[in-house]
């Protein structure tokens, strides 16, 4: 209730908001092209009707008479960032304004990124303005290879925008995991297996101690759902041998729910990933031997993985706190390098929704939550931008600290008063 009140207020104040209505009222969103993410495919001259936070209908033909309309060149579901640090770091370079990780903490798997989430963080609006309505937010591993617990949020910037706390555990293997574990891959794997052991023998192990082989009592408790297969584990890894080792581990522990982050050399094991139904979250810009774990990196990685049948989500791993929004550009480049357009769109919508179990998101379908974006062109094209963004049917303000700075300085004339009086 409070939230919807605040939302209506925000809509009223938004200078560039294309939607004329508040949350509860129905809106018809018309697109020359409507990408649905369902069997309906891409509609020409499509109409998406939303009401009361849900999508009512998706089709072609005339919009319901008398209903407020938003018109756009393209209409898509709200985009989903499958891996970000958006909202947990205001300024990554400033320790006081960065809650992504904690090198000095005695805890690891128990660190809950949602405890550091700030819906007021400026990157939230900046990310929303580019069409992202949902974000998966992961902590960063600083002390151990167990980074902690990630969460799912919307980008409304309002209190209560975290809609799934402890949505996944994040674990770092490969070179980074090795260095976080004392210096080698064997040490990382020993830590991971030891942690599994701690969880499995939890009762006996922690009866009289607070420490296990690897994890403290609190960490073991937090890691338990992941070990039992009740919670998704995101694992960062790049090199072919690391990916194979993860798949071997999954074979030994079939109950595990795993998705791999990075997978720069994933194309070399694409068939096995596909057979094991392990999704990957890739940064399709990776095409350099930036480390000895990325020698076979290629801009065709996403395309080859998808062709083999691996579910592929596309993200920006380079600056995941402030530039998660660049995933559209990265996906566009993946298309230029062989990924079908439709698959690239799914990498920003349905695949992340599936990986994180976000039901009724990532698609334009009757009954789905009304996360809808209206665009002035092809959503993957670098010259396109959203003209309206709806989250749960609420038309979001198309304003950020960046647009305010822009508007202040568009004219540098300060003859009468300093520019600080322009706001």
């Amino acid at each position: 209730m409070i939230r919807s009140l605040i939302s209506s207020l925000a809509v009223g104040l938004a200078a560039f908001s294309a939607a004329p209505t508040a949350a509860a009222e129905p809106v018809a969103i018309l697109g020359e092209k409507v990408w649905t993410g369902t069997a309906q495919g891409t509609l020409t001259n499509g109409v998406v009707v939303i009401d009361n936070g849900r999508i009512v209908s998706v089709g072609t033909g005339a919009a319901p008479a008398g209903m407020p309309q938003v018109k756009a060149e393209w209409v898509t579901p709200g985009l989903i960032s499958a891996f970000s640090r958006t909202g947990i770091a205001e300024v990554p370079g400033e320790k006081s304004a960065n809650d992504t990780g904690a090198g000095g903490s005695p805890f690891s798997a128990a660190l809950n990124a949602a405890d550091g989430f700030n819906p007021d963080a400026t990157p939230i609006a900046v990310t929303r303005l580019e069409g992202f309505t949902r974000i998966a937010v992961a902590p960063d591993a600083r002390a151990k290879l167990f980074a902690g617990q990630g969460f799912l949020a919307d980008t409304s910037g309002l209190p209560g925008s975290v809609f799934k706390d402890r949505a996944f555990a994040f674990v770092v293997l490969g070179e980074r995991g090795a260095s976080l574990s004392g210096g080698s891959r064997p040490a990382a794997w020993a830590a991971l297996r030891g942690a599994f052991d701690d969880v499995r023998f939890f009762t006996a192990r922690y009866m009289t101690h607070n420490d296990g082989n690897v994890l403290t009592r609190m960490d073991a408790q937090a890691f338990m759902p992941a070990v039992k297969g009740d919670q998704l584990i995101l694992i960062e890894a790049r090199r072919t041998s690391d990916l194979e080792a993860i798949m071997d581990f999954k074979q030994e522990n079939p109950m595990l729910k795993i998705a791999i982050v990075g997978a720069d050399e994933g194309w070399r094991v694409a068939d096995r990933l596909a057979a094991m139904k392990i999704p990957v979250i890739v940064d399709a810009f990776s095409n350099l031997p930036a480390s000895f774990s990325q020698l076979a990196a290629t801009s065709e990685n996403a395309g080859r993985l998808a062709k083999a049948g691996v579910p592929v989500a596309i993200v920006n791993l380079d600056d995941s706190s402030h530039q998660a929004r660049l995933a559209t550009q990265i996906a566009g480049n993946a298309v230029a390098n062989g990924l079908p357009f439709d698959t690239a769109m799914k990498a920003l919508t349905t695949v992340p929704a599936e990986i994180f179990g976000m039901s009724s998101l990532g698609v334009l379908a009757p009954g789905a939550r009304a996360d809808v974006v209206a665009w002035d062109g092809d959503p993957l094209e670098i010259t396109s931008a959203p003209t309206a963004v709806f989250i749960d049917g609420v038309s979001e303000p198309m304003e950020s600290r960046q647009t305010k700075l822009r508007d202040r300085y568009l004219s540098l004339d300060h003859t009468d008063r300093p520019l600080a009086y322009k706001h």
């Binding site: 205001e90 300024v91 990554p92 370079g93 400033e94 400026t122 990157p123 900046v126 072919t240 050399e265 070399r268 810009f285 095409n287 350099l288 031997p289 930036a290 480390s291 000895f292 990325q294 020698l295 076979a296 990196a297 290629t298 801009s299 065709e300 380079d318 600056d319 706190s321 402030h322 530039q323 660049l326 550009q329 566009g332 480049n333 298309v335 230029a336 390098n337 993957l380 094209e381 670098i382 010259t383 396109s384 931008a385 960046q402 647009t403 700075l405 822009r406 300085y409 568009l410 540098l412």
Partner: protein, 467 residues
């Protein structure tokens, strides 16, 4: 006269790279001033006369020609127009539906100096040992086998400036390269390009020397005011050094002892070495503009310049460039006020705008970075024709590097540094199909034989793969 002599000392020697010799130090021709002992040995690769036809041509100086042709002969642009005929024996490239532009010039790269793979042993990008290291030359760090050069080539980069890092107030000399695979950096050095000097404002120097690195209470600078005092102290020393050499070159007194640090700074003071300054905040750039006037040098370009939009009028009036990202922001305090319209707003104020990368990923698609900024400007009411915006990618960076008389636009007589794009290069789906450097086809997306593979990648997974 004195001025002439000085440029003979620091300028001509740089250009010709053959200024050795010894003498009594009294005659200008005999002065032992080996100012560029590492001269360019770059030579253009063989090229056939080539006529690229039926393309949308952006000439790089603001023109767009539909159904345009570009004629290349002897490694130079011979003609650009709509009605060109191929000379006998010329290769004809039918570029129907494609776009042709000048090669992209990135004036801010660390390729070779901070190469792939980024292992400890490759950390050659920054001589962090002191706040003033004007004596180092980044070319001595450049590893020509960096695979990053080949990825940049596939993105249409034909020339680039390699800079030392930004830890120091004075980071050392930069170097301008032709993006041609080579065995040594000398074989890449852009013939006749002036040397450059990297300086840095703001957070980096004060973090590295003041309170970082466990050196508390450590050395100077600790603060932005310490940064400025550091520049001024060094410039004062350099001014004295330059005076001594001026005198000597005028035939007075003994030959002064050479000092590598001050030699670089003196070269910047007399205009032979171009100053490139890493600076994010508007207020700091304003201080640097005055500082440069105090000592009589000129800033060729502010790099990163995340807040250039706030003082675009002052930058235009002074006549310097800003080398900018399209949308990087917020990763540190001095980048907090980054906006997507920075580049078009700087351009719109009449200042020189440049799209730069500072990244081995970003350098691969500077055309896309320009496109983002261009479209964001358009949405904010700044409508710049695409053919004018292309100056951010070629001609303006060439100006900032002092090579605009040689490359940066498709004009007769200039180096034939040319890119054929599969489509409008302001689209995410466009790719560089052919890249010519001095008329030689150095990259062809459709021909694996014309795609370089660096030594490091031989015998490794992914060798010769599509990158």
């Amino acid at each position: 006269m004195k001025k002439l002599l000085l440029s003979a000392g620091l300028g001509v020697c740089l250009a010709l790279g053959a200024c050795g010799g010894s003498g009594d130090g009294k005659k200008k021709d005999d002065v032992p001033r080996v100012f560029d002992p590492f001269p360019s040995t770059y030579a253009a690769y063989p090229s056939a006369p080539t006529l690229i036809t039926n393309a949308t041509v952006l000439d790089g100086k603001g023109g767009l020609i539909e159904g345009g042709s570009v004629l290349i002969e002897g490694g130079k642009i011979m003609a650009v127009g709509t009605d060109l005929t191929a000379p006998e024996g010329a290769v004809t490239v039918n570029a129907a539906g494609k776009w042709v532009t000048p090669g992209i010039i990135d004036n801010h790269s660390h390729l070779g100096a901070s190469p792939s793979p980024g292992v400890d042993a490759h950390g050659d990008g920054n001589e962090v040992s002191g706040p003033v290291t004007a004596e180092v030359w980044v070319e001595h760090s450049v590893w020509p086998q960096d695979p990053g050069f080949t990825r940049a080539l596939a993105g249409g980069i034909t020339s680039l400036q390699i800079l030392p890092g930004s830890a120091n107030l004075f980071g050392g000399r930069g170097v301008v390269l032709k993006n041609v695979p080579a065995r040594s950096v000398q074989e890449m050095k852009f013939p006749g390009a002036p040397h450059t000097l990297k300086m840095a404002c703001g957070e980096n120097p004060k973090r590295v020397y003041g309170y970082g690195r466990g050196a508390f209470p450590g050395g100077a600078p600790y603060s932005r005011m310490g940064n400025v005092a550091g520049y001024r102290t060094a410039w004062i020393e350099a001014t004295d050094y330059k005076k001594k050499w001026d005198k000597f070159l005028d035939g007075e007194g003994e030959q002064p002892a050479r000092n590598l640090e001050l030699e670089t700074l003196a070269g910047a003071l007399n205009g032979d070495i171009l100053v490139h300054m890493h600076c994010y905040r508007a207020d700091e750039m304003a201080v640097i503009l005055d500082l440069s006037k105090e000592f009589g040098y000129k800033v060729a370009s502010f790099h990163h310049a995340v807040e250039a939009y706030k003082i675009a009028d002052k930058l235009a009036e002074y006549g310097t460039c800003s080398s900018m990202w399209a949308d990087w922001w917020g990763f540190k305090m001095e980048a907090y006020d980054g906006i997507r319209e920075n580049i078009p707003m700087v351009h719109n104020a009449g200042a020189c705008a440049i799209v730069h990368s500072d990244s081995d990923i970003g350098i691969q698609r500077l055309n896309q970075e320009a496109a983002k900024a261009w479209s964001d400007g358009k949405r904010a009411g700044i409508d710049i024709p695409i053919e004018v915006a292309w100056q951010w990618l070629s001609l303006n960076p060439a100006k900032s590097l002092g090579i605009e008389d040689k490359t940066g636009s498709l004009e007769p007589g200039k180096m034939a540094d040319v890119v054929v794009w599969s489509a409008n290069p302001f689209s995410v789906y466009a790719q560089a199909e052919q890249v010519y450097i001095d008329g030689a086809l150095m990259y062809d997306r459709n021909d694996p034989a014309i795609q370089p593979v660096m030594d490091f990648e031989l015998g490794q997974p992914g060798e010769g793969d599509k990158k």
